[in-house]
């Protein structure tokens, strides 16, 4: 009995280290960044488009818009292709092919982000420059690269969700005379919806947090993007680009950028979760 209690305490302590890590990081970012936001003014910091650290102007509005635009683009690509692939793998694919395809897709997750970024720079950026115009470094390029990067996350979790749908659902639907496609999109995908939404949320987290690949293909301008072909700087790239050099208020402003990134992610995740709950309720 005593030993069991001991083990329980030990496990709780271990579990808490992960959470306390998060707490320490959060506290640290806020401690470093918050005073500057107060100094500059929240409104100025969030809604001003003037980022000139040397002159004391810290406005990150273009980067907030940049992060949201790039993430939205990435999700548009990642969700359509990701869920599509997951449906194909679980519903329409011969098992032997699945045995090859699924590990191959999971391998995609193991490729370092610099490699994605490099492919973007070498292949995608020149392609966009020559065929669509602009410099090629753009929201579009970043969205495509990120869209591909989130595929493994979206696919593997969606596949798990689809496979977890009880077999009788499928059989019942077919027995009622529904076609395979009707069964897939009206029964299977609907039943697996909460899992698929979880996949999308995780994918979104990866897209908004990705830095290296984005720095390489987005162009990192401090101007507000006006079209998918505009170059853009995201919140994460702003931190990574300038951290090596920053000091004083500039450094604090980068931490404050981190605070905003933190809040943006929280808002997006909460919204996605709330949305999925409401939908699930409505369906019932």
């Amino acid at each position: 009995m005593r030993r069991e209690k001991l083990i329980a305490v030990a496990l709780a302590a271990l579990a808490l280290t992960a959470v306390s890590g998060l707490a320490v990081i959060t506290a640290f970012i806020f401690k470093e960044g918050f005073p500057l936001m107060v100094k500059v003014g929240f409104k100025e910091f969030i809604f001003s488009s003037e980022w000139y650290p040397r002159e004391g102007h810290f406005g990150i509005f273009p980067m907030i818009v940049g992060s949201l635009a790039v993430t939205a683009g990435a999700m548009a690509i990642g969700v359509v292709f990701g869920v599509g692939v997951a449906v194909l793998l679980t519903q329409f694919c011969p098992p032997r092919l699945v045995a090859i395809l699924k590990p191959a897709i999971e391998l995609l997750a193991g490729i370092p982000s610099v490699v994605y970024g490099f492919m973007g720079v070498v292949v995608l950026v020149p392609f966009i420059r020559e065929h669509l115009g602009g410099s090629g470094f753009s929201v579009l390029a970043a969205s495509i690269v990120l869209g591909i990067m989130v595929l493994p996350t979206v696919i593997s979790i969606s596949v798990d969700a689809l496979q977890a749908v009880p077999r009788p659902y499928y059989e019942g639907s077919i027995a009622l005379g529904a076609t395979e496609w009707q069964t897939t999109h009206m029964v299977m995908v609907r039943a697996a919806r909460s899992g698929i939404i979880a996949a999308v949320i995780l994918g979104m987290g990866r897209a908004i947090g990705e830095t290296m690949a984005v720095i390489m293909v987005a162009g990192n301008t401090i101007a507000l993007p006006t079209s998918p072909l505009s170059a853009v700087r995201t919140l994460t790239s702003n931190i990574a680009l300038e951290m090596g050099y920053a000091a004083g208020d500039h450094r604090a402003a980068l931490f404050a950028t981190g605070v905003i990134l933190f809040l943006v992610i929280m808002v997006l995740n909460t919204a996605a979760l709330a949305l999925s709950r409401r939908r699930a309720k409505g369906a019932r």
Partner: protein, 265 residues
Amino acid sequence: MLRALFAVAVVALAGLCSGCGDSKGGSVSVVGSNSIHLFAEMLAEEYNRSNPGVHVTVQAGGSTAGIQAVLSGVADIGMSSRSLKPEEAARLSVVTIARDGIAIIVHPSNKVTGLTHGQLRGIYEGKTTNWRDVGGEDGPIRPITREEGSGTRATFEEMVMGQARIAASAITQEASGTIREMVENDPGAIGYLSVGLVGTKAKAIAVDGVAPSHENVQSGKYPLARPFYFVLKGRPGEAAQRFIDFVLSPPAQQMLEKEGLVRVK
């Protein structure tokens, strides 16, 4: 991201190293400017080879990181490719180890062979947007700049931009190598980097009619030249002082010259 992590690691490592050997025993940590880093590393290798028992470590991280590291006592010597801000200058001293030109590079196929100061400013301000307006063929100009805080950018702003701001729409990259790569691949691009890092493919153009050749940088004719500094806090330790003496010695200066820099001694 990489660099930020790296800078943290550098400072941590430098801290470890400065703890493990007292300055007499012969460990010197040199931290700072990415532009100077490659050259300093080469010198340190040479110095370590000929002075067993002494160990000079060189780490990049940026001019500002280097200055910070010296201020906090983590590094013995900082490397800076920008001049010190007044509040930094009050607590630190500098030694000029070489001079470097900032080259303006364009795509090899670009017909433009030179720009004036004013034209260059117009381009980076975002006012001049077509190569036609500066003597080239019709096509958009895509200026590429370094990120805020970079020593190369600070020098460029000081010498070319004056009070004007670099356009918000300028593409920003965090390393000279990336800028070179981008200019080599984009017919409309223009960028700036250290003369020693131009490479063979991109075309370095004349500024105010003066080509960024070695002779022109050395003679002071080329308008965009800057000093490379070692930054020190108070009197350096014995080992650090000896390394500085070595860097200023004729053989070391000759090595720097061979790499495209201009000697100061």
